[in-house]
């Protein structure tokens, strides 16, 4: 009986990982960015770059999202919002920090209303450099994240065969 449940869980997890890799849904939150990264993220969705061919969809609600794409340094006003958006996302969830500001505070280091960078508030999985990063770089960041997921899938399988 227990064995059956375990198999059921394994199957479910496999389906989840498969769905995550093939069709991750992303949400975008700007916590104090200058807009530069935001328009580049939007540009990745448009015909030239067309991120949607990887099955990635940018959509509105954090409750439906797998990936949180963050831009900008975190301002005092946006900190609670960023945390709330992150907490509203269902597990498993991943965060991509886009742009120099999101990584280190960038040009805004030392401004009185800046708390810091994204990973001082929420954990980050992938960092994309640039001010702003090119759309190709953002796509590369997303693909890196998907590869990471795929790797973790392989590792799990290897662990299973070793058992």
């Amino acid at each position: 009986m227990i064995k059956l449940e375990q198999a059921w869980h394994d199957a479910l997890r496999q389906i989840k990982t498969w769905a995550q890799i093939n069709s991750p849904w992303a949400i975008h939150f700007n916590s104090g960015s200058c807009n530069g990264c935001d328009i580049e993220i939007l540009a990745t969705l448009t015909p030239r770059y067309d991120l949607e061919r990887f099955g990635i969809k940018l959509q509105g609600s954090p409750r439906h999202a797998d990936i949180l794409i963050c831009t900008g340094p975190v301002t005092r006003q946006a900190r609670e919002r960023l945390r709330r958006v992150y907490e509203q996302m269902p597990e498993p969830k991943f965060v991509i920090a886009v742009g120099s500001c999101a990584i280190s505070g960038g040009a805004f280091q030392g401004c009185y209303n800046i708390v810091g960078h994204i990973d001082q508030v929420i954990p980050v999985d992938v960092y994309v450099l640039g001010c702003p990063p090119r759309p190709e770089a953002i796509i590369d960041g997303v693909v890196k994240l998907l590869q990471k997921l795929e790797l973790s899938k392989d590792e799990r399988q290897r662990a299973k065969t070793n058992e």
Partner: protein, 400 residues
């Protein structure tokens, strides 16, 4: 029985919302579908840039101020540079001034095409969104070819520009303009004739000339209501002295007029860029500007894609500015959305908001509202000594 008549229904929007690409919080009180009251809470993107300028040198500030807004970064830098040059008593060489105007116009094209896409997206017209963003990539490629970056080009330096426009750039630009011109003609036709789209725009959010003047609206939003106001025409700066811009004016004041004014401005930008390329002055690109700027204060006005951008710059003779104050076009236009939204169905609100082309990262400046205290003095105003004393006491408390 529940009395629904007396109850207010409030719809919050933001700070994270699919219709907003940037954080801003709106609250709409509804009666059925109709908005009866609208409120806004801004400041999510307030970073404290004006204060930060005081801790950075004149050159460092150039790069900081460029990052106020990623869409109109060049205009911010140009406004600052022109102000500082005025203080230092230096005029940039004519070729630099022309290249400033050239990149400014390229930025206007990219900004207006971006806006056209976003506004169409708010109307549910995603085909137009995708098409206009596809065409926008041609101008982004050229911006990258000339300056090396797609966004935040940093073409300006104090005393001139960094990048030269060569003959190969000019040829590529001319070809791109030919392509964009045919596309823009198509967009103008769509915006003026598409029946579905006209139902979302024609007669929606009508702002009369009187209202536009009373609310202090600027830029294309004002020009769609018949207010003839364009800094490029009224007080030419940089390259616009030798290459005058034409004023695009429309009097209807509804969303359709705002669409058509911006699209016609694209044609004007194409014409200006062609004129600039054909008669680009020759000569040097940069003049040397001293590290310390002469003491004094000045204002500098620029026509950003969204309207008049205003800089106040004060120097005390050092290598850092004493005060920089920035007034951006979006904050001037924001109040008009709140007043216009009243009486419209909620579904029109994202369109009205997109109609002014809001830019929240420009928006979130500190504004001081004077409140009179009981004893007649201004409660919010502190003298330097008071502030100094407060700082000492604050940190003493922190230490304990």
């Amino acid at each position: 029985m529940h009395n629904t008549q007396a109850e207010k229904f409030i719809v919050p929007m933001g700070p994270q919302h699919p219709a907003l690409k940037e954080p801003g919080h709106f609250e709409f009180t509804l009666d059925g579908e109709t908005v009866t009251h609208a409120g806004v809470r801004l400041g999510y993107v307030h970073r404290g840039i004006e204060k930060a300028t005081e801790a950075r040198t004149w050159v460092q500030n150039l790069y900081l101020l460029e990052r106020i807004c990623g869409i109109c970064s060049h205009t911010h830098a140009t406004a600052f540079v022109l102000g500082v040059e005025k203080l230092a008593g230096i005029t940039a060489p004519p070729r630099a001034q022309a290249i400033r105007a050239l990149i400014g116009e390229m930025e206007r094209i990219h900004s207006h095409l971006l806006w056209l896409g976003v506004a169409a997206h708010e109307a549910g017209f995603d085909t137009l969104f995708m098409f206009s963003w596809r065409d926008r990539e041609t101008i982004m490629d050229l911006l990258e070819e000339i300056t090396g970056n797609r966004v935040n080009y940093s073409a300006n330096v104090l005393g001139g520009v960094k990048y030269d426009v060569q003959e190969k750039h000019a040829d590529a630009l001319r070809r791109a303009l030919d392509f964009l011109e045919t596309r823009t003609e198509h967009y103008l036709e769509v915006v003026k004739n598409d029946e579905m789209f006209l139902r979302r725009t024609r007669g929606v959010g009508v702002m009369s000339r009187e209202l536009a003047e009373a609310w202090g609206v600027v830029g294309p939003t004002a020009r769609a209501s018949g207010v003839a106001r364009d800094v490029r025409v009224d007080a030419p700066y940089a390259g616009y002295v030798d290459f005058p811009a034409r004023l695009i004016l429309q009097t209807e004041g509804d969303l359709e007029a705002r669409f058509s004014v911006r699209i016609q401005e694209l044609f004007e930008s194409y014409r200006l860029i062609r004129a600039l390329l054909d008669h680009l002055p020759t000569g040097e690109l940069v003049k040397t500007v001293p590290r310390r700027i002469k003491a004094g204060e000045t204002v500098s006005r620029i026509e950003a894609p969204r309207g008049e951008l205003f800089y106040f710059i004060k120097s005390n003779g050092g290598d850092k500015p004493e005060r920089v104050h920035i007034r951006t076009p979006s904050i001037c236009n924001m109040s008009s959305v709140l007043s216009l939204a009243v009486g419209h169905p909620l579904a029109d609100v994202p369109m009205l908001l997109a109609g002014i082309d809001p830019c929240f990262s420009c928006n979130d400046r500190m504004v001081l509202l004077k409140q009179t205290a009981r004893n007649g003095a201004h409660a919010d105003e502190w003298t330097w000594e008071q502030l100094h004393q407060h700082g000492i006491e604050y940190y003493r408390k922190q230490k304990r």
